[in-house]
């Protein structure tokens, strides 16, 4: 079987699995977020934190709840790292430096999981399990909760209420993430992923050298790392490490776990607004962009320019031979198309254009299919902007699912859309202007790509690193921390405000004069708007980076 055939089969089998699973799984998620009954455990949690599960929240209260919860998580995580030497299972590590602790706290609370450190040589098991892995669950649940609140805004009419954040958070964690995480962890362990609380095993290598092999609760963290589109690896090498991702089929499973929630959420959207076809339209946009991203990344890697790639037939540098080119490229595309950021190969070593694809996938705004929840709300924002332009072209005040897109809605959607490009571009420019970009390993276009990648990854809450950039300096940790924080919570506030203003509206009944938002034409237009907006925003920067290098 040729490399290309293998790659195509790999992608097709993923597509087939996602097509099969997204409906029943989406229906399950729909029942979770739309249901009214609470389990005993959930009731216990509500009593413990003092929440009335029947009380609904306005957008402002919902947003404050999200922010308060995240702020507490952030402080807790910061303190945890700073005090880790006083805790159990610290493996004797020192407290994490302040700027590093800040960066990591923000990183895990914002579902980014940007890692400036090597997990196995910086964090004890307790911090990894009770600190980082917990955030892997709840930060993912926050994303889904916000997306659900936005969908409620579309689905409800003449109300200020968007649901209850605490209920959404609890249910999503307990009924969606946790069960799959348990099953997935078992499957990964079967595949050879380690799971123990060992402090490390001393071994003698073949050549007689001494080496400490770090074990730990890897499988349990690995599964939620992918499922919650987090991406923070137990080991520095992330999913390239054989203890995290030993075989080709665990690789397949990890990619599947990355994609399964983001691709199933449009089903929840369709069910909640009472028109499944609207969900299909959204999932179609995601799928088109994702398939294009995966295909192009594969093409650029398989037909890579350069002496070495042509000699061996493909760009193998920085890739694990057990995965080969295609399975690496597909993983790279999946991890950047979602805001996961786990890696099983080093994007810095990709061909210039292959590397540009990983950049471009993130620059799409993490919407194809994006992070858990964040992908859905990001794409719905793009749909709102598309509806606005398209709606004018059919001669009516634009409306999406019967809700008018007026000046308040377009203002919020525009502000949402402004946040990440502003952070990416000003961050990159600031790094060059202040000379901090000099920590990049490379000069010239590739160095520019390394810096641009770092800010793109942080601002879009992706968390993957291009590598080749030293970021454990106070400037980088602070700047990227700010990008992650603002890149996560400003959009969340705008999304919830939008949800609030949509929920208040009385929907206009659809007629022949209404722009249909479930047909291929509209799907194509959303794809076009997404690509064109991204291209127009980032083309000058890309021209000086990967384009200059790759053309």
């Amino acid at each position: 079987m040729s490399m290309t055939t293998a790659g195509v089969l790999f992608v097709l089998s993923l597509v087939a699995a996602l097509v099969a699973v997204h409906r029943p799984f989406g229906d399950h998620m729909y029942r979770v977020v739309a249901g009214t009954r609470s389990s005993r455990v959930e009731r216990g949690i509500y009593r413990l934190v003092g929440v009335d599960p029947a009380a609904e929240q306005t957008w402002g209260v919902y947003a404050r709840s999200v922010l308060a919860f995240s702020a507490v998580s952030l402080l807790f995580l910061y303190a945890f790292q700073r005090l880790q030497n006083h805790l159990w299972l610290s493996l004797g590590f020192d407290p994490v430096v302040p700027h590093g602790a800040w960066n990591t706290a923000v990183s895990f609370v914002t579902n980014t999981n940007w890692q400036w450190y090597s997990g196995e040589s910086t964090m004890g098991h307790l911090v990894q399990m009770a600190g980082l892995a917990v955030q892997n669950f709840v930060s993912a649940a926050v994303g889904i909760a916000v997306a659900v609140a936005l969908v409620r805004g579309f689905a409800r009419s003449r109300t200020g209420e968007l649901g209850n954040f605490w209920v959404d958070l609890t249910r999503v964690t307990l009924r969606i993430l946790l069960p799959i995480a348990v099953l997935g962890a078992l499957a990964l362990m079967l595949g050879g992923v380690v799971q123990n609380l060992s402090g490390g095993t001393d071994v003698t290598t073949l050549t007689g050298g001494a080496q400490t092999v770090t074990g730990g609760p890897v499988a349990s963290q690995e599964v939620i790392k992918e499922l919650g589109t987090n991406g923070g690896g137990f080991y520095n090498a992330n999913s390239a490490h054989p203890f995290e991702n030993p075989t080709a089929w665990t690789n397949w499973l990890e990619i599947f776990l990355i994609l399964v929630i983001p691709f199933s959420l449009p089903r929840v959207f369709g069910r909640m607004v009472g028109q499944k076809r609207q969900g299909y339209a959204i999932v179609a946009v995601m799928a088109i962009l994702a398939l294009a991203g995966i295909a192009l990344t594969n093409v650029f890697e398989l037909t890579g320019d350069g002496t070495v790639p042509q000699a061996v037939g493909a760009a193998l540098e920085g890739k694990e031979v057990r995965f080969d080119v295609s399975n690496s490229a597909t993983f790279a595309a999946a991890t950047t198309l979602t805001s996961t950021g786990a890696v099983n190969s080093f994007h810095d070593s990709y061909t210039a254009l292959g590397g540009m694809m990983t950049l471009g996938n993130m620059m799409l705004g993490e919407v194809a299919p994006g992070g858990v929840g964040a992908g859905l709300y990001g794409l719905l924002i793009l749909a709102v902007i598309t509806v606005f332009v398209a709606g004018l072209m059919v001669g009516r005040t634009p409306e999406y699912l019967g809700k008018k897109i007026g000046s308040r809605e377009i203002k919020l959607a525009s502000m949402y859309f402004l946040v990440t490009p502003a952070l990416v571009l000003t961050g990159t420019a600031a790094a060059f202007a202040t000379g901090n970009a000099s920590t990049a390993l490379n000069a010239g276009p590739h160095g520019l790509s390394e810096v641009l990648y770092a800010f793109t990854s942080a601002s879009n809450n992706n968390g993957s690193a291009f590598a080749g950039l030293t970021v454990n300096t106070p400037w980088w940790n602070t700047a990227l921390g700010l990008c992650m924080l603002l890149g996560r919570f400003l959009p969340v506030i705008f999304v919830l405000a939008l949800a609030g203003s949509l929920a208040r509206q009385q929907p206009t009944p659809a007629s022949e004069g209404t722009l249909p938002t479930h047909r291929p034409l509209f799907v194509g237009m959303v794809v076009g708007v997404t690509v064109v907006l991204v291209a127009l925003t980032f083309l000058p920067a890309l021209a000086l980076g990967p384009l200059a290098e790759g053309l």
Partner: protein, 724 residues
Amino acid sequence: MTAPLQTADAPVPGTPGRRDDRVGGGLLDPKQLLASLPDALRKLDPRTLWRNPVMLIVEIGALFTTVLAVADPSVFAIAITVWLWLTVIFANLAEAVAEGRGKAQADTLRRAKQDSVATRLVGWTPGAAANGYRDEAVPAPQLRQGDVVLVEAGQVIPGDGDVVEGIASVDESAITGESAPVIRESGGDRSAVTGGTRVLSDRIVVRITQKPGESFIDRMIALVEGANRQKTPNEIALNILLAALTIIFLLAVVTLQPMAIFAKGYQAAASDTAAITDSGVTGVVLVSLLVCLIPTTIGALLSAIGIAGMDRLVQRNVLAMSGRAVEAAGDVNTLLLDKTGTITLGNRQAAEFLPVTGVDAATLADAAQLSSLADETPEGRSVVVLAKNEYGLREREPGLIPHATFVPFTAQARMSGVDLDAGGDVRRVRKGAAAAVTKWVRDNGGRPTEQVGELVDAISGTGGTPLVVAEHVAGEPARALGVIHLKDVVKAGMRERFDEMRRMGIRTVMITGDNPRTAKAIADEAGVDDFLAEATPEDKLALIRKEQEGGRLVAMTGDGTNDAPALAQADVGVAMNTGTSAAKEAGNMVDLDSDPTKLIEIVEIGKQLLITRGALTTFSIANDIAKYFAIIPAMFAGIYPSLDRLNVMRLAGPESAILSAVVFNAIVIVALIPLALRGVRYRPASASMLLRRNLWLYGLGGIVVPFAGIKLIDLLVQFVPGIS
């Protein structure tokens, strides 16, 4: 396309004549561009321009390059500077031209608003004796609300008001352009008069309803001039989107500088170009890039589109009191249309003759015609017309028939007829309401057969009006000859119109005072979606509220005072100019032609306004793709030669490429002014069809056109000395 339905076809003086296009606009005369140039230059004042942030940024950019060009003159810098200024001027020109067209109309209106002296009646009360009040001369502008004035033949009515006494014919051509005089009388729905119009005959007493300086003409002038024009909701939303895009591009351009310096530092050996030096991209080029990227095309034309939209309405003799109402018209889901005058011709017409057994149709037609000769009502005349058309019976002049005594139609007798005296042998023929004629037959010794009753019931059943024809020859018992079927005649082309409405997603509801059965028959024939029978003003209001509860927008027309609450409640309320002041106050539009079918055109104009904005926005954004392909290689191919591969247009050199993009960006504004003023072509169709069409045209067109345009300009510009 159906024929235009409006009957009054006279344009407002001073406006271009109507075109055949249903929703077209005036053509752009090149002279208008020249005439508007001074206004365009005046608009360069930043205090005026700040309302248009996109163009303000262009102006700031132009100022910046001017400084740079003065400090370090080169052909390239000067050429870019000139074209940046032209970009702003072209944008101002678009607005100035749009406003200029309104100004011409305003001048005509001002002429009507000559200051006259009014005769104010002090102490006047309805029916007061002549000595119960006194009159005094007051300058018209000093009249207050509630003042009562006397206007006599030849005088100009000093202000808007209602006729409270008398009847007069009034020349309203100053505002409607219609030269035929109209009747205005006290009471009823034709009592409103407009200041500035002239009484031609008789005398009327008018109670002034306007506040000083707020007359209908004042408002019209303000409207057509675009003075204190408010931005409409969609326009505001679009402005926000454009502002957001501008910010993004501003960021993209500003943040490019440190990256460019870094890149140039890496390739230090690359020689400096006009675009990039060791201190980064040159100011002139950076500004050029910014101006090319921000949505200048739509930013330049946005206000012109809005003004021209209002102007198109004015050309159709519709005055919208706010732009918001015009936009709402495009959104309308439900259209309430009065049956009479809108869907059907004003009066019922004879459709067929139904003789009873033993009478042939020709005899009945002859009798019907004879008995209708003296019936001057439209129904009576329609009987004569039908007899002529169906049976070839020539109309007989009443005077040409010997020994005939005509009995004219009266509302009391409810019948008309003729007595023919052929030498003592008197034959009397009558035609009229079934009950009246049947009684007449009985009174004259006859017995109407049961068949007459059956025919009458059958006609009533289908919503028609039956008229019975009978004759009485002296010495014999009177007998009924048959029945004339009168029915509502649906105007030609209405069904097609309603089909179009349905395709546009608009539901049409017919409002009528008829009983449900009659209403249903007409509704089916006309093809409306629904009807409201035996409608009272309260029913109308309730219907509008119910539709709005469901989230629908409702449009309606009305003229009477009892329509006022419904007009006020409707999202788009079009008052007829012939109607009462109350109706005109309540609605948000006034149709000077008083043509109820105008509503359909108003909806189309509203839609066209939005489509034009959407189409040009799409075009504007799509344009950026080609500009990138021109400017990015021009900027950076000097340091990274591989980027020259992006120069797909094979433009001659970096300077000519950048200049060509800037020139194209400016020229496209002028090229699109006619489109902005006229509006994009609109044909009623479903949303999907419209989107497909406009997306191909303005989306794909927006991508392709600049590639060709920039290349063409480059072919010329490269020969300019000093441009590399």
